[in-house]
């Protein structure tokens, strides 16, 4: 958040060290066992690592970083297709910025741009629709990746393109859904997660009804959690309290934004345009009913179909362990390539590229004992508490 010398309501108060101190103290008093909690979303991972929140926890507690990074789980096949489409002379290829440097099998979108391909970073898929209207002789292709949070805007873009009668707007869709992935993780026999912090912004759209049967079936606490430091600490505290009391179910920490049924208007827009399909996740494999694809009536907007792309064999790095990182099996530093062969400037895997990737978070914010935290207040809190 760029601050222009003033407070930002609903943000600054969630960075208050005094409030954080109360939560950390309560957490230390509440946690009697060595609990392991996974925060699902990469945005939450970044807040945790950036602000050193993991170092404020009781030493026996551990946070595992989940697969909630859309860039990280977008399959290599999709990237290779995106790169192939972007290289065509008639195409203006539009994408969110952090997809540009994700390595495909042989290249990346930024290299296509460097070689003369027209690759543009857009803020919103709606901007890509506007481009389609402005350049009727070009094919505008938008790389529609993301979780439930991004789906309404992408659905609306396709809906709007149809409404405007545009024939030169296409989307390459690789949308993924969080609850099926959580189910897949929970069903893995040797996983270590005892509770989950669900991604608040995903739940803003779809609510948390779908998490309730998951919490029941696997008897785990799931806390819908926001993205500011105080949100994360409160989410961790609520999950720990449920674990200590032997309870499971869904609690909503992010109630200033999230309602149980989500945003019904946004859900309707998504449902109008997309349908649920099986989807491969990079590093995790195919997960049943875990993705969105265009409905048949919108298939003329499908870039995959329009450009008749074949699925070519992909070449994954043999060194990069991002799949294990995404599953919460290892921490980024346990990968032999971390920080040596693999850095944000020369990434081997998506977890190092994305602004939400766990490897990028560890690289940018250190998080090692001898590296000072990037943010002062938690250190102050830590020293006052003697943790």
């Amino acid at each position: 958040m760029v601050k222009v010398g003033r407070m930002m309501k609903f943000l600054d108060e969630y960075h208050d060290p005094a409030a954080m101190k109360i939560l950390v103290q309560s957490l230390h008093q509440t946690a009697r066992q060595p609990w392991t909690i996974m925060e699902v979303c990469g945005g939450q991972t970044h807040t945790i690592v950036k602000h050193g929140l993991d170092r404020l926890l009781p030493p026996s507690m551990e946070l595992l970083h989940g697969p909630g990074c859309p860039v990280c789980v977008t399959p290599l096949e999709v990237l290779d297709k995106a790169i192939e489409i972007a290289a065509r002379p008639e195409v203006i290829f539009c994408s969110f910025g952090d997809m540009l440097r994700v390595p495909g099998s042989g290249s990346d979108l930024l290299s296509v741009k460097a070689r003369g391909g027209e690759v543009r970073v857009v803020y919103s898929p709606l901007d890509a629709v506007a481009l389609a209207e402005r350049y009727p002789d070009r094919s505008i292709v938008f790389l529609a990746v993301g979780f439930e949070t991004t789906a309404p805007a992408n659905a609306l873009a396709v809906w709007d393109a149809r409404r405007r009668g545009l024939k030169n707007f296409f989307v390459l869709v690789a949308h993924v859904l969080v609850p099926p992935a959580l189910r897949a993780l929970m069903a893995t026999p040797d996983h270590r997660m005892q509770a989950f912090l669900a991604a608040g912004h995903v739940c803003t759209v779809v609510g948390y009804e779908e998490y309730e049967p998951l919490a029941e079936e696997f008897r785990v606490p799931i806390v819908v959690t926001g993205f500011e430091p105080l949100d994360l600490l409160e989410g961790i505290f609520l999950a720990t309290r449920m674990l200590e009391e032997g309870r499971w179910g869904v609690e909503n920490q992010y109630c200033r934004v999230v309602q149980r049924q989500g945003n019904l208007v946004a859900r309707r827009i998504v449902d109008k345009v997309f349908t649920v399909v099986d989807r491969p996740w990079r590093g995790l494999g195919v997960i049943p009913r875990s993705g969105l694809a265009l409905r048949d009536e919108y298939s003329s907007f499908d870039a995959d179909r329009h450009f008749c792309l074949e699925t070519l064999p992909v070449v994954e790095s043999t060194v990069c362990m991002s799949g294990e990182v995404l599953r919460g099996r290892i921490k980024p530093r346990e990968c032999p390539a971390f920080g040596t062969q693999c850095t944000p400037l020369h990434p081997m895997g998506a977890t190092m590229v994305s602004s939400e990737g766990a490897c990028a978070a560890y690289y940018h914010y250190g998080n090692q004992e001898d590296t000072p935290s990037a943010w002062i207040p938690p250190k102050k809190v830590a020293s006052e508490l003697g943790v």
């Binding site: 309501k9 609306l156 995903v202 409160e234 200033r256 602004s355």
Partner: protein
């Protein structure tokens, strides 16, 4: 569409999914689309919990409280709408938060 102030940067945002939004409200915006109006009363709840925890630590009984009195928040900014959401130190346009 409506104009949203992101802490100084203003841009047009799709308000289709937040039909009850009014000028002066705070909204959560993601890739050009407002997804929620931020609920002022609910926003106070975290501070109610804090107050409860603080009292528990001091050995005091829980207060019969709605939590609304715990904290005074700054006044709303004099702008049409203010987005308080996706933090984007590197610029919001290169992030795809989950």
């Amino acid at each position: 569409m409506g104009k949203v102030d992101f802490g100084g940067v203003r841009r047009l945002v799709c308000l289709e999914a937040v039909p009850d939004v009014a000028v002066g409200d705070y909204v959560l915006v993601h890739v050009g689309m407002a997804l929620a109006r931020i609920d002022e009363a609910e926003a106070q709840r975290v501070f109610a919990l804090l107050s409860e925890l603080e009292r528990a630590e001091a050995g005091l009984p829980p207060r019969d409280s709605t939590g609304a009195e715990e904290r005074e928040l700054s006044e709303p900014q004099p702008v049409a709408l203010v987005a308080a959401a996706q933090d984007g130190e590197s610029g919001a346009n290169d992030e795809i938060p989950g």
